[in-house]
Symmetry: C3
Subunit: 181 residues, 3 copies
């Protein structure tokens, strides 16, 4: 009888353990948007990002010709809870992207969400490839601080809207699978 009870407790624990620690169901989830307005030499007042590196023959106020291959863009973009650029930001998306392919639009991203709102305080850092032409693509969440202490996960990125090279909005569905508890 003792062994049976034990086994039950045990399986319960095993269940809890797997569920909370190695699940494929997120332990935390949130959808956020960020808005990027690229500096073109004239929109200094509104721009939130700027080209800082270009391949041979490129310049810093216009993305390079061949799928922008070789451009590095540094950004400090507002994060909002909805799709409206003018909604009150809940934080800033800060970092860079690199256009890294010469036969399609693909970029590599390294950036951090610095959240500071009544709901969330802390940072979430992302790194990975972004195959821009794919509708929904996954990028790794490699670390977190504050409310996101030691978190890891995956964000599904969608280009929610883009207006040529002047503006784009990304929708990020953040799924944390490790919430460090």
């Amino acid at each position: 009888m003792g062994a049976k009870v034990c086994l039950l407790i045990f399986l319960a624990f095993l269940g809890v353990c797997s569920a909370s620690k190695r699940s494929h169901t997120p332990c935390k989830r949130m959808v956020l948007y960020f808005h990027d307005i690229l500096f073109n030499g004239k929109n200094g007042g509104n721009a939130t990002s700027t080209i800082v590196a270009a391949p041979e023959g490129g310049n810093l106020t216009k993305l390079a010709g061949v799928y922008h291959f070789g451009n590095i863009v540094v950004f400090d973009d507002p994060i909002t809870l909805d799709t409206n650029l003018h909604s009150k930001p809940v934080g800033r998306a800060q970092g860079f992207y690199i256009y890294d392919t010469n036969n399609t639009y693909t970029s590599w991203l390294g950036f951090t969400f610095v959240l500071d709102s009544p709901h969330h305080k802390g940072s979430i850092t992302f790194a990975g490839a972004d195959p821009i032409m794919v509708k929904a693509r996954d990028i790794s969440i490699v670390g977190g601080t504050g409310d996101f202490f030691m978190h890891r996960g995956i964000a599904t990125v969608m280009t929610d809207e883009s207006q040529g090279e002047a503006y784009f909005r990304l929708r990020l569905d953040l799924k944390f699978y490790d919430c460090w508890w």
Copy 2:
């Protein structure tokens, strides 16, 4: 007797748990190669990488003088299962490297393997220092998606071949210690 049985189940579980979750033996392992052909102003058709930033006095078609200190190179390199540049690629290595030392050849790498083959679909993101002159050096695998969902590990990098500044091939022995199961 019950307690004994329990203890046995328990130890078995403990064994499984430690083995699968905190092992120093990889839960998944693979060897891949990638090939980098640097743009020199004339090889646009073949080049897979391009210099996009250089220190004062440098230019974008030739690596800078002092151990290339300060050059940033963006790449989109084919990944193959064997050493042959012309083998069918199983994916692309996309990201950047920075030459970051002025007294030896050292670089810092941020890049992603985007794999798309019958065997593997998904991404693996790497970040870390690469002391190029060391024969075998380790770099961190900080995240994964798709078949590499939430994976972490370490890749042992070797410069498999290099032809001056025109071409190099890296051999990566990817060892995942966290396969998220």
Copy 3:
């Protein structure tokens, strides 16, 4: 009785498990300093970092005007155990920082501590936002190799000293919460 004994063993295990694996108390901790001397066109002998990218209108021997927004700096800085720049280094901090905001001083960092001393051999890779004007700010430790095999954690960064744009020293309080054992 068996069940009771079992439960005790079980709770003990649960305690050990949570304590060693999901704790908010570091499993390893160390304080290190690193020293950055920015190349200004004249201090080639001493400089440990160099500007490699700048926004439109910027140059590579002086940080750009508006909070340095858009500058990328590549560094190879000595790491010391105390605050003295001339102490024997225990390793090098290698990577880059980007000034990424146009209304305050904020940067994004990707770098690695390459440690090589009698006490520590291995690498520690960091990524994340650095809100420079905040006294103590947290950045994610996203991977480690060697003595820091598979480690993750958080480093609390303080600007220990800065002399205009010529020199700064950062104090990093490294707290590892995952030591992979």
